[in-house]
């Protein structure tokens, strides 16, 4: 069974989504550990409630950022983790961890990449005036939200949306497509060719590319 490690800095709602999908038996994976850079984050509470070992690794304890990621890679490897999931981890992953898990680190981002990278993507989208928004699960590379795209889902922007209402709607989709992407990986169906993630047998996008209830 695929062993997963999760990196989170905050509430970790996508971490919870993985836990729930695992319990619902939709996802045949084992979540081995949570690693966080934030001592009191809610994700730790979720880990404890679900008997998942949680490690707080303090960046300030390490001379360089690279050393910090060597340490994280060490802990993940020690736990036998085969796939790393970023779930609201508010740092840019650096080479030592990327090299330890090449195309084995996923992230979910609340926009239809390549549009609106970085922070406050939903607000960026509203400020730009888009009518279609969404979210993206991608493999992590050296850049910020630049890696090969595994799956995306779109939602309509509704008249009168604010950053919060749009974020809530997108988050519901994140909780659907992130576990789905992990499922595809766990079934060995993902192959990266250049920038393109080829999905063995294709992917049924129904339910992802849908309207929200208006």
């Amino acid at each position: 069974m695929l062993k997963i490690g999760v990196l989170a800095s905050g509430r970790g709602s996508n971490f919870q989504a993985m836990i729930d999908e695992g319990k619902a038996d939709n996802l045949k994976v084992s979540i081995e550990c949570l690693i966080t850079d934030t001592p009191a984050c809610y994700a730790i509470k979720r880990a404890e409630e679900n008997g998942i070992p949680a490690f707080y690794i303090n960046p300030d304890d390490y001379k360089t950022k690279d050393l910090y990621y060597h340490k994280i890679a060490y802990e993940l490897k020690s736990s036998g983790v085969g796939l790393v999931l970023l779930a609201g981890f508010m740092r840019v992953v650096r080479k030592p961890l990327l090299d330890a898990y090449p195309m084995r680190i996923m992230n979910v981002h609340p926009s239809l990449l390549p549009a609106f990278r970085g922070l406050d993507a939903q607000k960026q989208a509203l400020d730009f005036g888009v009518k279609v928004a969404g979210c993206t699960v991608h493999f992590v590379d050296e850049g910020v939200d630049t890696g090969p795209i595994i799956i995306q889902a779109a939602v309509s922007v509704i008249q009168g949306d604010n950053a919060e209402s749009l974020s809530d709607r997108i988050l519901k989709l994140e909780h659907k497509i992130y576990p789905y992407a992990v499922k595809l990986f766990s079934e060995g169906r993902l192959r990266v060719e250049g920038r393109t993630v080829v999905i063995k047998g294709g992917v049924d996008n129904n339910g992802f590319l849908t309207n929200p209830p208006v």
Copy 2:
């Protein structure tokens, strides 16, 4: 009834979509003229077949680009045109025409803007490896595909898509949302606030944000 002028350089399939929607009585507008920069383009044939006056205006006949757009603005105004539609017009519209029709010029672009501006947007999207693509109807400003977004529609990228198959699928959506945007304009339901196009009464996005048949 709203009088429309169309600018096209090529086959003008979106021009045809407007003609068809008008005939089907879904669109209460009158297409007053076609203006083209390309003498032998197929759009001219469509105009002739539908009794729409077609003007070939040769850029080489004008000392400056601005003069060229002054001439186009003159012809459109002479025809009483109230809304200008770009339908595969392969030039960047300049100030004289923009000033004559402020937020009265629309364009359709085969991507979910702000992603993949400019030429070969569908190929750009495939090369980037996106899983969701689409099209955008927007008001035209000084930039290339940068103006306020009126409506967008999304489609899934299907495993094995090439630029042609994806373009075909997106084009079907263009033919739906472009006339729809014109309809909203003709009903006085569009108001531009900064970068955001507010649609009076909101918009029913059903049918736009949908999956293609897989």
